[in-house]
Subunit: 186 residues, 2 copies
């Protein structure tokens, strides 16, 4: 059985004019994706932001649900947030995973709404998760997506999520939910 | 080809103590589910709330993206929100659909994280959407879900979304995204 991690990247990402920006951490990105991570057996959900004040804010939001009143009020949120880890950049994520996996190769898998060449099919990645011991880190971008140079550095690129027509402007929360279900849904 | 509508119910729904309550409309429920609706060819997304002030608030949020600056700044949001309709209760939704569908039967399909008897499989509903002209209205509950009496009135009940284990406490935004992808994803 393979292992799955995810990372939500806040910088560098594109804005709508394809300029490189840093986005803010948003409350519901933390909660919704943490709850999806718990649902789909994701080992850790990395919130990646270069700003210490933003990481502190995320820590404060999470501590409400992890300590005292919040933890007692809603233990399901406590359980979901136990999977969240804060890092300042992707290199630090990969370094931690390298240690945690004791040198086993961690394959990075970029996700994007744009179509890149050399994409991997959902069913192929699903099969690798089911049939091998491989470790994968899914990368999700905030804003208008992860910059091209970072996408192209990934070991694999997942196909964009298509529904019923041409419109594919999903929120990153929705895209993460759908992609995890395609890879690990029952 | 069948037709698909969805409704997000704000009352009556359960709170965590299984008491019947009215929830507030939240900004990201409007946006995320509208964008999913556009992605998966949902004909209309009904926001159902009994409070006129809450419906006005939703109208104001949407008008920002549908008029003037917002519409110009992000036409994708404009397109997504064009699918949203506001109603005070489910009866009004069904009455409008009855007119729109000129008396064709509209099948209601409840969704819930709890397991009910007589559930329909995703693949069976998907096949009906692909192979028949039937019209379906998916019902999603905010809070801790639609009340039992309303669930049991529905023509069909979809199975809960399961991922990889026992945890199934998804946000309604994530559940809607996953369910639409299972029914109409490419």
């Amino acid at each position: 059985m393979g292992e799955l991690y995810i990372a939500l990247i806040h910088a560098p990402v594109y804005n709508k004019n394809m300029e490189q920006i840093v986005t803010s951490i948003t409350n519901l990105d933390i909660h919704d994706i943490a709850r999806c991570s718990a649902t789909y057996g994701v080992k850790a959900y990395y919130l990646v932001h270069p700003g210490p004040a933003q990481r502190d804010l995320a820590r404060r939001i999470m501590s409400f649900w992890q300590e005292g009143f919040g933890a007692e009020y809603n233990p399901n949120r406590y359980e979901a947030l136990a999977h969240v880890r804060l890092k300042s950049n992707l290199e630090d994520v990969l370094q931690e995973l390298d240690q945690e996996q004791q040198g086993r190769k961690v394959y990075t898998v970029a996700t994007d709404a744009r179509l890149y060449p050399n994409t991997i099919e959902y069913k192929d990645l699903r099969r690798r998760l089911e049939e091998t011991e491989d470790v994968f880190l899914l990368l999700f971008g905030t804003g208008w997506g992860i910059i091209k140079e970072e996408i192209e550095k990934a070991d694999y690129i997942l196909k964009p999520v298509y529904g019923y027509g041409e419109y594919n402007h999903l929120s990153v929360r929705s895209a993460a939910a759908i992609i995890l279900d395609r890879l690990r849904g029952n």
